[in-house]
């Protein structure tokens, strides 16, 4: 009998264990439930980072396992955020509006409340009606379904079109980037129905939970993010481990060969792409209530490229690598850009990290790509003594051959 998944891959257990310890530690040190050593804003940052880690894990499935360098993952992330944001915004505005209308001598009708809510929300873009796409915004379950359905459908349609016509490699990357750009530009318009560049705001106030302080709420969200990250990690590890995972990795290594062996390459790719989009969207739906605001700038192509950068630095093809990369780089990034890193005085010039962090990130990224393709997770290999075979000699000329001088001689 086969051993259960977690025993075949002990890294899963280690990851979940570390995640649990981390969550408990933060809870104990938090202002809401513990000593208060960690500020509420820090708890929120940690919670958001966990969501980013989940997005990175999904990215790793797409890129590290299936070999699709999708530069549009953050579009799914933001779409998830928008979907949950619509409900948060409507429900909260409804509460405020109903409160103010209740003081009038004649009680308001439903239509009047709805009109007042619409004016409140869409006043900034010069409208006073709910656009069509807000049809389900009154119902939490409806919007939760949309969190999964909208990005899933987008990924399905886009992936089907792209994979069917055998767009792959860098072309696919550019195409996904174009998709993100198109979506961002669309959302920037005021008449897109999602408040243009104002975006959705006030998402940190959860309707019905007004009595709960932000200190406690941030911890609740941290727990939710941790649980979701754990479940998402398990799901993706399970998908990537079995026969399905083997075929996916084979597609990454040699797509044509897998196709000749009779597998439906497009089908596998599509399943992976859609699954990753859905998981990313769920991560986004947890991220934006903690961030409090979402606007189309979140979809800018650069955001998705950063996600790829995190995964690359963390180590592709290993789920824990992706998570580590996302957590490590995004925390480091907020440390440097937050102005907390000490300036370096070179005598003739003072390096302010706020200005120079991007340069450092860019260069270190180049170095990681060149010198350590396995990323941070490669350290684990070093630790376990797994090393790639030492290959001697020069490459045999500029052609695509894989053998090197010595190997060819032997």
């Amino acid at each position: 009998m086969r051993k259960p998944l977690v025993l075949r891959h002990p890294s899963i257990l280690v990851f979940l264990g570390v995640l649990a310890v981390f969550t408990v530690a933060v809870t104990v040190l938090s202002a809401g439930y513990g000593t208060g050593a960690i500020s509420t804003s820090m708890v929120k940052t940690l919670g958001k980072t966990l969501c980013l880690a989940l997005a990175a894990v999904a990215m790793d499935l797409v890129w590290g396992y299936a070999g699709i360098l999708s530069l549009g993952q953050m579009a799914f992330f933001a779409l998830g955020g928008y979907m949950i944001g619509m409900w948060l915004m409507v429900a909260r505005t409804e509460g405020i509006v109903a409160g103010s209308l209740a003081n009038l001598p004649i009680p308001p009708t439903d239509a009047e409340i709805s009109a007042a809510v619409a004016t409140q929300i869409f006043g900034v873009v010069g409208s006073d009606k709910f656009p069509m796409i807000w049809a389900f915004s009154g119902s939490l379950w409806g919007q939760l379904a949309l969190v999964v359905l909208v990005p899933g459908l987008l990924a399905l349609v886009f992936g089907w079109l792209a994979f069917r016509s055998r767009v792959n490699g860098v072309y696919l990357s550019i195409l996904t980037q174009a998709m993100t750009l198109a979506l961002a530009l669309y959302l920037f318009q005021n008449d897109s129905g999602l408040r243009g560049n104002n975006g959705l705001s006030g998402l940190q106030n959860i309707p019905g939970l007004d009595a709960v302080s932000q200190e406690k709420l941030s911890i609740w969200f941290l727990w939710a993010s941790a649980v979701t990250l754990g479940l998402g990690y398990l799901l993706i590890a399970w998908v990537a481990s079995g026969k399905f995972g083997s075929v996916t990795r084979a597609i990454r290594d040699d797509e044509a060969r897998v196709r000749f062996l009779g597998y439906s390459v497009e089908g596998y790719k599509l399943v992976v792409f859609v699954l990753a989009a859905v998981v990313t969207a769920i991560a986004g739906a947890l991220y934006y209530p903690q961030a409090g605001i979402i606007n189309p700038a979140e979809l800018a192509p650069i955001a998705s490229i950063y996600l790829a950068v995190w995964v690359a630095i963390g180590g592709r093809g290993r789920l824990y690598g992706a998570a580590i990369g996302a957590i490590f780089v995004s925390m480091l990034s907020s440390w440097f850009t937050g102005g907390r890193a000490p300036d370096v005085n070179l005598g003739f010039y003072t390096i302010k990290w706020v200005d120079w962090w991007q340069v450092l990130l860019g260069l270190s990224f180049v170095l990681v790509t060149l010198l350590a393709p396995k990323g941070i997770a490669g350290l684990v290999d070093l630790f376990e003594g797994l090393r790639p075979p030492k290959r001697q000699g020069q490459p045999m000329g500029p052609d695509m051959g894989s053998l090197r001088e010595k190997e060819a001689v032997e």
Partner: protein
């Protein structure tokens, strides 16, 4: 004989003016109308001004002074004087005789301050004089002011002064006369003739003169009065929604207002009696049906005005006819004007299409310029260089820096172009040697590594030049635009970019097809191993090719910087479009890149034409179109064929 006739004609022309000048004495006129000159009113001053104008040169001088608020009364004796500022004081001239009265202090004179209405009358009268002024400049000014502020009175003035020694001015007068005829002549036949005389003229002024004739009002009539010039009878529900139609009736006081929910709510709130309205408890009023019941109950009690019911609304709508009516009463004139406007519209449509094509062409050349470097690095070598946009930016900043040292714009541009090439060539070679060389077999990682370079370069530019936009000013001879007519025009800078794009196309074709370097590049891209066996060093060629592509990007950067603002994000604004251009066109073929740029440029302008206010939407739809286009031609418009495909 002919000379004699000419002299006779001249005398005949001059005599009446001369004679008229003799008829009235300015001093007499001034003393006669003294009160009106001191306290003029717009309605009554007209005849006075005309009489003064008729007295000749000194009258004209008086009018001009009056118009410029230089007319005053000397306090000592109440004499009407022209007081021109001179040093600290005023130089006085007798307004009636033109005699010099020496200078005076400002306090000695009470200035007259005619209001703008009066001055309008004065300047109109003066325009009549100025139209026959011997100085062509004044005639042009008079014509300009007349065409800006035309009215009926000026038509007569203009007709009196139609002759002009300058043929160009005569033609202008002719044109203006016909334009004024269209608008103000009392004879409809003359107006129609004038309208038809313009043919399909597309001038803005002609269209502007037709528009007031075709101005429409929307009215409701029970009985259509005779003599109404109907533009169109509106059908309810089609041309005019029933709600709007009823709102019109309400606005004109022809029907009672319908009860809006807000009004009903306010009325109900006024009639709350012991927690209920019309017998309906307040708690139930959160429902429209209950509110209707409550209001009906109030109506039955007679406490509120009955609101218009649906039936009454229908009846009112059926009773009235809704029309668009021309303000111009004569139907023949409006018909002619409509026909003329329609024929100009076709021509204008064609011209707008031409203008749009020029716009699209220049956008296409910009994309082509931005993409041609990529066509080398990505198209020929297959290297994805995400830092390409930053090379464009480096080129633009090079241009900016050169301008800091060389003041002359033309010279600085001539220096900047090769310098930008050198700078970005060096940067490209460095990038190739340090990074890309190690990643030729891992294209996805090239993409990521060059992206790392891209963010580093962007931030570096920000650190050096700051975040605000830097000016890269084009030389004066590139300012302005080549204007064909009111509609079609293109700025010189866009023409220059178009020319530059053509030059680069030629340069690319020359290098690739006619030089040793091009031959070796093609050999290395087709089969590096074979090329190496023939003694070509693929390393060196790759390095040079990449440098060439980057250098072209630098020059494109200077060109783009001339019309876009130079910021550290300049490159990233173009990078996605550039890749699109190359991918849509077909990788590895310069004609494909050209076709791709043309497609994207024309497409974007075309979509913008449908929705001019929204360039964001245009970009969105363009990208969507490209994504779908790639589905049907995955290898681009001009697909590479044969063995090169797999390489």
């Amino acid at each position: 004989m002919r000379l004699f006739l000419l002299v006779l004609a001249f005398v005949a022309l001059v005599l009446p003016i001369h004679a008229r000048a003799q008829t009235a004495d300015l001093a007499a006129v001034v003393s006669q109308y003294r009160d009106q000159i001191e306290k003029p009113s717009r309605q009554s001053i007209g005849p006075v001004v005309d009489e003064i104008a008729a007295t000749g040169a000194q009258g004209a001088a008086l009018l001009q002074a009056w118009n410029e608020r230089l007319l005053g009364l000397r306090k000592s004796d109440g004499l009407l004087v022209i007081a021109a500022p001179e040093g600290d004081g005023l130089k006085l001239t007798d307004a009636a005789t033109g005699a010099d009265l020496g200078s005076a202090a400002e306090a000695d004179v009470t200035m007259l301050r005619p209001n703008s209405g009066v001055r309008g009358v004065i300047s109109a009268a003066m325009a009549g004089n100025a139209l026959s002024d011997p100085d062509p400049k004044r005639r042009i000014e008079a014509l300009d002011s007349m065409s800006r502020r035309a009215d009926a009175s000026q038509l007569a003035l203009l007709r009196e002064a139609m002759d002009d020694p300058d043929p160009a001015l005569a033609a202008r007068k002719q044109r203006l006369e016909r334009m004024l005829t269209i608008q103000y002549d009392s004879d409809p036949a003359a107006r129609i003739a004038a309208i038809e005389g313009f043919g399909g003229d597309s001038g803005l002024d002609f269209r502007a003169s037709l528009n007031p004739i075709l101005a429409m009002r929307r009215v409701a009539f029970e009985e259509i009065p005779s003599g109404t010039n109907i533009a169109k009878e509106l059908s309810l529900g089609g041309d005019l929604s029933r709600e709007d139609a009823y709102a019109m009736l309400v606005a004109e006081g022809l029907a009672p207002a319908r009860l809006t929910p807000q009004a009903m709510r306010a009325t109900l709130a006024q009639h709350i009696v012991q927690g209920s309205v019309g017998g309906v408890p307040l708690a139930q009023l959160a429902d429209q049906d209950a509110r209707d019941r409550a209001y009906t109950a109030l109506e039955a009690q007679g406490t509120v005005q009955p609101a218009a019911s649906d039936d009454e609304v229908e009846a009112a709508l059926a009773r009235y006819k809704f029309l668009d009516v021309y303000a111009e009463p004569n139907p023949d004139v409006t018909t002619a004007a409509r026909a003329a406007l329609r024929s100009t519209e076709t021509r204008i449509g064609l011209m707008q299409a031409a203008d749009l094509s020029l716009d699209a062409l220049s956008l296409a050349s910009i994309y082509f310029l931005a993409a041609i470097g990529l066509a080398v690095t990505f198209g020929v070598m297959g290297v994805i260089n995400m830092a390409h946009g930053e090379f464009i930016m480096m080129g633009a900043y090079t241009g900016y820096v050169v301008q800091q040292f060389i003041a002359d714009r033309t010279v600085s541009l001539i220096v900047a172009l090769p310098l930008a090439f050198v700078v970005t060539f060096a940067a490209g070679v460095a990038l190739e040697r340090l990074v890309i060389r190690h990643l030729y077999k891992r294209p996805l990682e090239t993409l990521l590594a060059t992206f790392g370079v891209s963010i580093a370069l962007q931030q570096l530019a920000k650190n050096i030049f700051g975040t605000q936009a830097r000016p890269l000013t084009s030389p004066a001879w590139l300012d302005g635009a080549l204007t064909f007519n009111d509609v079609v025009s293109i700025s010189y800078i866009r023409i220059a970019i178009f020319v530059l794009a053509l030059v680069f196309l030629g340069l690319y074709l020359f290098i690739m097809n006619r030089t040793r370097l091009g031959l070796e590049v093609r050999a290395v891209t087709q089969n590096p191993a074979m090329a190496a066996s023939m003694g070509i060093s693929p390393d060196r060629i790759n390095m040079l090719t990449f440098g060439l592509g980057s250098g072209i990007a630098g020059i494109a950067g200077v060109a783009i910087g001339l019309f876009a603002k130079v910021t550290s994000e300049l490159g990233s604004d173009y990078i996605v479009q550039s890749f699109m251009t190359v991918v849509v066109g077909g990788v590895g073929n310069i004609w494909g890149t050209l076709a791709g740029a043309a497609l994207i440029g024309f497409l974007q302008k075309g979509i913008e034409w449908f929705n001019p206010a929204n360039t964001l939407a245009a970009q969105t739809y363009m990208i969507l179109f490209i994504i779908i286009f790639i589905q049907f031609r995955p290898r681009g418009i001009i697909a590479a064929k044969g063995r090169a495909v797999g390489a």
